[in-house]
């Protein structure tokens, strides 16, 4: 099931021929990706495929070796520091760890970007912060310190902070990792609801297939430094690619084998003929 080709106005983020390596290890070898406005887009793939790195490239925190990343028409890596910071005010980012400032309370964490970038009078700022906290269900936790929050609550506070400046897009780095079922359900619902209510564009990087597929409009699967398949969750579940099917259904064996490749056969190893040094 192929979606219609998006026009330039539909696309918020456009990545072209992106190459990036860490030392000698190539991470991306020609990623092409278009993320549409107003949608929840998921970038999925096994651990170590560079999903978080891709978000850092979109946010301008890393410099690609080749290729371009355009966000809302701006070439991220051609911008000066002022232009980049201006662009980042239109981006929100939810880090896997939450990245809350540990010396500030929940209220002050959410107020932080507002205090840094605006001169709002304190009563207005207070109302705005309470609105954001109410949106994530944590208005009552405003006086708590980050150390007093559970993992799920910390991410919700981080989400309230990410939307504090009313951004155009929000990037989520592994938002569901390590969450209990209730927190997971809350986060899944929040991401979709905030996207629709606030008219955001959301990019989720995750390997939690079921949760992500529940809310994503489109999924791009990363493997071997490239996007190997893109489509709606339904299309990817029914993919003809064995690799994509194994990933989407979480099958223990397939093109990615259950067994890590060994130098010798199992029987040979047991009999000590291979001489692995641990016989």
């Amino acid at each position: 099931m192929s979606a219609p080709t998006p026009t330039a106005d539909d696309v918020l983020v456009e990545i072209r021929d992106l190459h990036f390596a860490r030392g000698d290890k190539p991470i991306f070898a020609g990623v092409d990706l278009r993320i549409r406005r107003g949608e929840v887009t998921a970038i999925m793939g096994p651990s170590g495929t560079g999903k978080t790195t891709l978000l850092k490239l979109v946010g301008g925190q890393l410099q690609p070796d080749r290729g371009t990343v355009h966000v809302d028409g701006d070439n991220v890596h051609a911008l000066g520091i002022t232009g980049l910071y201006r662009l980042r005010r239109r981006m929100g980012m939810l880090f896997q760890s939450g990245a809350l400032l540990t010396d500030l309370s929940v209220f002050d964490n959410v107020a932080f970007p507002l205090r840094e970038h605006t001169d709002l009078p304190e009563p207005v700022l207070r109302d705005l912060v309470l609105l954001k906290l109410q949106a994530v269900g944590l208005r009552g936790a405003r006086d708590l310190m980050p150390a007093e929050l559970s993992g799920g609550m910390a991410r919700r506070v981080a989400l309230a902070r990410a939307i504090a400046l009313d951004p155009t897009m929000v990037m989520y780095d592994e938002p569901f990792t390590g969450q209990d079922p209730i927190s997971m359900g809350v986060l899944v619902d929040l991401i979709r609801r905030l996207n629709d209510v606030l008219g955001l564009t959301s990019i989720i990087v995750s390997h939690d297939v079921a949760e992500t597929a529940r809310i994503a409009d489109r999924i791009h699967v990363l493997s071997g430094g490239r996007i190997v398949e893109s489509g709606t969750p339904e299309a990817l579940y029914a993919s003809e690619s064995e690799w994509v099917r194994q990933f989407m259904h979480g099958l223990p064996d397939g093109p990615v084998p259950f067994h890590y490749p060994a130098k010798a056969g199992f029987a040979e190893d047991l009999l000590g003929a291979a001489g692995s040094g641990h016989a």
Binding site: G59, Q61, I81, Y85, R86, R88, R89, M91, G92, M93, F95, Q96, S97, A99, L100, L101, T102, F112, P113, E116, H117, A158, R161, L165
Partner: protein, 258 residues
């Protein structure tokens, strides 16, 4: 032999690369300083953290260093019948050398290590990255206020240290060992020059404050974002601060009094 040379080369390259990163880092931090004029609260907060919270160790150390200096000075001077000059001996030792140097060493161990650990942990928990993504420059918001606070706090701490060291020597020398109080203060007043002794001591403190704070914030910012990396950064802060302060003290002393 070749392996040894290779290791030496690699270590030298790493040292020069770190020095280069350190200088670039300093330039970026200094560029963030003018913005602090609009937000003095950030510096005041850090002055409390690196200055006020270091007071206990500075006060106690200053008092004991002075008491020991009084005792040792008296037992030596009394052999030459010069025990009434104890005040001069203590004041010159403390104001010219011990005050700035010991304060800087204590600062490195107390405030410097805390700064490095705090910034290293902020890095390892993505707080610095988070600020960048909120379009807040960590160099301006986190590094510059800490660097300036360390620079300003050091001469104040050194002054408190020196004052208490002289007071400690007074307690031992005059209170316990019978040195004449008038001679203690009078000779000190005659011998200690404002420009030659006190001002040079303040200049030393400012230089040590700058170097110690620079090392601390750079080590934290440059730390590998792991618990082991933060631990190494903290250790390096204390070691490098101590070496830099002692080396710089020799250079400054040679320039000022040589």
């Amino acid at each position: 032999m070749l392996n040894g040379l290779q290791r030496l080369g690699a270590t030298s390259l790493e040292v020069f690369a770190r020095l280069g990163r350190g200088f670039l880092f300093l330039l970026r931090a200094l560029a963030g300083m003018p913005a602090l004029a609009l937000r003095p609260g950030l510096v005041v907060q850090q002055l409390f953290s690196v200055g006020v919270l270091s007071l206990v160790i500075i006060v106690v150390s200053g008092l004991f260093v002075g008491m020991v200096l009084g005792l040792q000075g008296y037992t030596t001077l009394v052999n030459f019948g010069a025990d009434q000059s104890l005040g001069v001996l203590v004041a010159l030792s403390v104001v010219r050398e011990l005050g700035p140097v010991v304060t800087a060493l204590l600062f490195g161990g107390r405030a410097g290590s805390a700064l490095a650990a705090e910034i290293g942990l902020m890095k390892s928990t993505d707080q610095l990255s988070g600020m960048e993504m909120m379009a807040v420059d960590p160099m301006r918001r986190v590094i510059a206020p800490r660097l300036l606070a360390g620079f300003l706090a050091m001469p104040l701490l050194a002054a408190i240290f020196s004052f208490l060291a002289i007071f400690g020597a007074y307690l031992v020398g005059v209170g316990l060992l019978g040195v004449d109080s008038g001679a203690f203060w009078g000779q000190m007043q005659d011998a200690v020059e404002f420009r030659e002794d006190i001002l040079n001591g303040v200049i030393k403190s400012l230089a040590f404050g700058f170097v110690a704070s620079w090392i601390a914030v750079f080590e934290g910012y440059d730390a590998e974002p792991t618990s082991e990396g933060v631990s190494r950064a903290t250790t390096r802060t204390v070691v490098n601060t101590s070496l830099a302060v002692l080396g710089l003290d020799f250079v400054l002393t040679a320039l000022m009094f040589g």
